[in-house]
């Protein structure tokens, strides 16, 4: 199913407007999240899947490295970030599930989907000048796949890096 969606999207002009928001199909989002780094997508493949980004951010400390940001067209909430290396290959992708998708990306669903990837719940202390924070995440595949969640166990974002 995943492969079929990817194939259809890459061979036709499956852009943001034509597919993403009309279908609201969780498989489509999962396939991007899991394939972008694994299949070493280029910028043109991301463009084909999601269209042009809303914003780009160049990483001054890493020459040529860049991130592309996408927002949901309906509510303008941030939805995707793709991080490209200096060769223009996706090195990491983060997805922020919106209201309609949140039940398809719950901690339980992620654990089931990634159960073979040695997932562990982690709590990390993070210091930010005068604030001592605890960040909670589900970490899988040696930290290559993570889902950060809040005190209500709501997934805030899922990241996959190469």
């Amino acid at each position: 199913m995943k492969a079929l969606i990817i194939l259809l999207c890459l061979t036709t002009s499956c852009s943001l407007t034509s597919s993403k928001y009309s279908s609201q199909n969780p498989d489509f989002y999962w396939s991007i999240l899991e394939n972008a780094t694994e299949q070493k997508w280029t910028k043109s493949q991301v463009l084909k899947m999601l269209g042009p980004p809303d914003e780009k951010h160049k990483h001054t400390e890493r020459e040529e490295a860049i991130s592309w940001f996408y927002s949901n067209r309906k509510n303008n909430f941030q939805e995707w970030v793709f991080s490209f290396d200096s060769d223009g290959i996706v090195e990491g992708v983060s997805y922020f599930p919106n209201d309609l998708m949140i039940s398809s990306f719950s901690i339980e669903k992620i654990m089931t989907r990634w159960q073979s990837l040695n997932c562990q719940h982690k709590v990390k202390q993070v210091l930010k000048s005068h604030v001592i924070k605890k960040e909670k995440s589900l970490s899988c595949d040696n930290n290559k796949r993570t889902a950060n969640y809040n005190r209500y166990n709501e997934v805030e974002y899922i990241s996959v890096r190469k």
């Binding site: 970030v81 039940s103 001592i132 209500y152 166990n153």
Partner: protein, 222 residues
């Protein structure tokens, strides 16, 4: 019991879990049981229950800080301030307050640990507008208690974006209620709550979208 996976907008789902037998702080015995899945309101920790403590909290990262007893006058001042603040900042159940001498971080009047609902007010916080300092620290605690959707709406209203892979926050805004708000959305949020409550006319004029967002969140809270 099979419970709907979605809850009303102002509630979140608590999945079925085992509860160990325990005693509440007031001595009431609570028996062990299996708690069924249910929906619970966000920020439902109940009325403020402030506790003053003298020893360094467990896991406190700033080991060089000296903890001591909070003098009666300071305690009274803190409690008066807490009573004067909007409910959304103070209805957090147990709040542990410390009065250490000095922060390890230069020019820092207070430190908070939002997930453990702790605030440390250093001596210098009593030589400035203490109410602003406490408001700011409680705003950090409020940030940790926002729902995922509330955070999304705040990011949108305040024009923040996040890149978790590179640990970068990005905004196109050129102005902030306080300079360190440009570092990240949480610090910006705490500053904005502080300025919303203390310099509202100016804040409303400079940041109308954020002002509306805070007004909606606060609702008709005291």
């Amino acid at each position: 019991m099979a419970f709907a996976s979605s809850c009303p907008k102002d509630m979140y789902l608590v999945r079925e879990h085992k509860r160990q037998a325990h005693y509440r702080n007031d001595g009431t015995y609570v028996s062990g049981t299996t708690v069924s899945s249910h929906c619970r309101h966000y920020r439902s920790e109940g009325p403020l229950d402030p506790k003053f403590k003298n020893e360094m909290p467990k896991g406190w990262p700033y080991k060089k800080e000296t903890f001591k007893q909070c003098p009666k006058k300071k305690k009274e001042k803190i409690l008066n301030i807490l009573n004067s603040l909007p409910n959304i900042l103070t209805q957090i159940g147990k709040l542990t307050i410390y009065c250490p001498s000095k922060s390890e971080t230069p020019n820092n009047p207070a430190t908070s640990a939002p997930d453990d609902k702790i605030i440390s007010l250093y001596d210098s916080s009593f030589e400035m507008d203490t109410k602003r300092v406490i408001t700011h620290e409680l705003a950090h605690i409020l940030w940790a208690r926002l729902s995922s959707n509330e955070k999304k709406t705040y990011y949108s209203a305040s024009q923040w974006k996040e890149d978790p892979i590179n640990k970068v926050y990005k905004t196109n805004r050129k102005t902030f209620s306080a300079p360190d708000g440009s570092h990240d959305p949480e610090e910006d949020f705490a500053n904005n709550i502080e300025y919303y409550l203390t310099e509202n006319t100016k804040f409303k004029s400079n940041f109308p979208q954020i002002n509306t967002w805070i007004k909606n969140l606060f609702g008709d809270t005291k």
